[in-house]
């Protein structure tokens, strides 16, 4: 009896072994898709990838998530090698032109049905009339505030009505009452203290234009009067009025400080709402629109993450299947639930209308239709962004605004030279 069982067991084990080796051989034969993805929390990445794995079991997905501060350099190295790796990569929408001009993006025009997407998403995905990246999310920062801190300081909170949005001047007035720098308490901070994404609208509110219309000249734009005025104002937040903590360049830090009640008001992306509510449930969270300058107009940033296909991929069919899956209504709803970026599919806005009946989403919807200005379309956006970012970083720490912007404009023009003709 015992012997029989043991033999049966052995046979069983052998069979399982054979099966396992068969299966591993099958897995080996499966098509492998290399994906480079943003380093969002695993819980916001894995469900999406698992959903594709379930839909296409014959494809083996290898996903690398890279932190925000390294993702652009990593992509430069990997794409610069001009090999089929990665097959798919997450693509910051304003870099679409940069990657497309250098042959790092497959033309998706014949593959995507543009009519399914919002107009601004398709604009952000296009370069010279063709769609090079698949829109995966949009963005719109709002002004979050800590109701309790404002109430305690006797400040009437900023209205959620877009027509009555606060001016930056009004915001500073309130922020000064809320700040105690020596106790590390601050009235206000930007989530992204150095990123042109969040800070260009300051200059644009005063009539500034980010780059010449042909996308090749920064002189007269980046160092023009609107930029000078806007960023002198921004500098005073840190150096003169001392309402913003200096040097929190990692976008997670201001959000964390806001969550801990050290910062009373925060201009930040919509996706932070979920993070703040789950991580800091005690915060009484208020939402208001992105401020404008008193004499200026309302301008908000937009654009966000898209998905690109490496034109050198050996698995075009599977890569396009990945794009299809990620552009499907269901997956985009799942994505919205995981990380609430403003959706890019019209169907999500329509069929999920109930989700968008909050103050925040009413604001976002208005901004995307009326005030959102995409970042300049230039193949040199990577250089533009980084040079301006360094300049803004220096300005927050007290560098001479005019000299810094003039030097930045010169540097940008020098680097844009290579894309002409």
């Amino acid at each position: 009896m015992t012997r029989l069982t043991r033999r049966a067991g052995l046979a069983g084990a052998a069979a399982t072994g054979a099966l396992a080796s068969l299966r591993s051989r099958a897995a080996h034969a499966a098509t492998k898709l290399q994906v480079i993805w943003m380093g969002w929390p695993e819980g916001q990445v894995k469900p999406l990838m698992d959903s594709f794995r379930a839909a296409a079991p014959e494809v083996e997905l290898q996903v690398e998530t890279i932190p925000f501060v390294q993702i652009f350099q990593t992509l430069e190295v990997r794409l610069g090698a001009r090999t089929p790796d990665p097959d798919i990569f997450i693509c910051d929408s304003p870099l679409t032109a940069s990657y497309a001009a250098r042959g790092h993006l497959l033309d998706l025009t014949p593959h995507l049905d543009a009519s399914r997407f919002t107009k601004s998403a398709i604009e952000a995905a296009s370069w010279q009339g063709k769609i090079y990246s698949a829109p995966f999310g949009s963005s719109c920062p709002v002004l979050f505030y800590n109701k309790k801190l404002l109430r305690e300081a006797g400040i009437e909170p900023p209205p959620a009505d877009v027509e009555k949005r606060w001016t930056w001047e009004r915001l500073v007035e309130a922020a000064r009452k809320l700040s105690k720098p020596e106790e590390n308490r601050w009235g206000f901070s930007f989530e992204q203290q150095e990123r042109p994404y969040m800070l260009l609208p300051l200059a644009q509110s005063l009539g500034g234009v980010a780059l010449s219309p042909d996308g090749f000249k920064a002189k007269g734009y980046v160092d023009g009067p609107a930029f000078l005025e806007a960023y002198s104002f921004m500098q005073k937040l840190y150096t003169e009025w001392k309402v913003s903590p200096q040097g929190l360049f990692d976008p997670n830090l201001p959000v964390e400080q806001f969550g801990n009640g050290k910062i009373a008001m925060l201009v930040a992306g919509t996706f932070n709402e979920a993070t703040i509510k789950t991580k800091y449930p005690d915060i009484e969270l208020g939402v208001a629109p992105f401020p404008r300058f008193e004499k200026g107009k309302a301008v908000t940033p937009t654009g966000a993450w898209h998905i690109g296909v490496n034109p050198r991929t050996r698995n075009r069919k599977e890569a396009l299947a990945f794009i299809d899956h990620f552009m499907s209504h269901d997956l985009q709803v799942l994505w919205f639930e995981l990380r609430p970026y403003p959706p890019v599919l019209k169907s999500v806005w329509e069929k999920e209308a109930k989700r968008f009946e909050t103050d925040m989403w009413r604001i976002v919807r208005y901004e995307l239709e009326h005030t959102a200005v995409p970042r300049p379309a230039t193949p040199g956006f990577r250089e533009y962004e980084d040079i301006l970012r360094t300049a803004l970083r220096d300005i927050t720490t007290g560098a001479d605004v005019k000299a810094t912007l003039t030097a930045a404009a010169q540097k940008i023009d020098r680097e844009l030279e290579k894309y002409k003709g």
């Binding site: 652009f72 350099q73 430069e76 190295v77 610069g80 001009r82 001009a101 250098r102 042959g103 720098p181 590390n184 903590p245 200096q246 040097g247 193949p379 990577r382 250089e383 980084d386 040079i387 360094t390 970083r393 220096d394 720490t397 007290g398 560098a399 001479d400 810094t404 030097a407 540097k411 020098r414 680097e415 290579k418 894309y419």
Partner: protein, 290 residues
Amino acid sequence: MKHGFREPWSIVAWFLAPALLGLALFRLAPIAIALVGGFTGTRLTGETVWVGLRNYRRLVEDPSFWNAVEVTLLYNLIVNPLQIVISFALALLVLRPTPLVPFFRAAYMAPMTVSLSLTSILWAILLEPTMGPVNGLLRSLGLPPQPFWRSEDQALATLIGVASWKGVGYWMVFLLAGLLLVPKELHEAAMIDGAGAAACFRWVTLPLMRRPLAFVLVADTAANFLLFAPVYLITQGGPNGATALLMFEAYQAAFTYLDKGRALAISSVILLVIGVLALLELRFLRERGG
């Protein structure tokens, strides 16, 4: 054995081959690539083209390159002598075998075990102007908080301090090894001849330390010229170019400006400067030896 004795050179060659191969592959080849690559550019579509002196011409015309040269030279002019003096002093302090010496030796060497990136992050946090503990300490002592990394005037000095915190223990080990090799008899003989401690140091120790000092000076200079991690992780070359070391410029050229030719040209300049300085340093320490 017999066979080996007849052809000693082939055996030597065989034993050296792995090291020489490594040297060629990991040192000489990259240097050759950088030197040649400095004369090339990359088309948008990825092809490499010969551009002659264009990269160098652009560097010469570029104020941010000259700023980086200035910052790099200033940094090295201060940090190298400083580190050598401190590590020599530390080595002398822990030379005599007194009871607590092993503890101090270990303490000075401890920063060696922390990677440079970790060191950078550690000091970025410690010296964070608003929330960092160092300013907290200053405040509690009634002293004014300092901007450290965030001030154009203090950033380079802070960088020098952090690089030295990490470096001196390491260089101390080499100098300590050198000091331990100085024969005691020479000191004793000098003392008998009436030399004091200062004279002993000046006329016995120092001349015998010329070789380890030369090695440490050259190696330290090279290491400091190639310093990158703290600049990348903490200051990004700022504020306003105050910590823009050449290595960071090279990195930026490659990964931000997407200009490989420029990056390789800057790397070649760094190599050239290190080469010239190393020769000067070796000559300086040799001539005085007589």
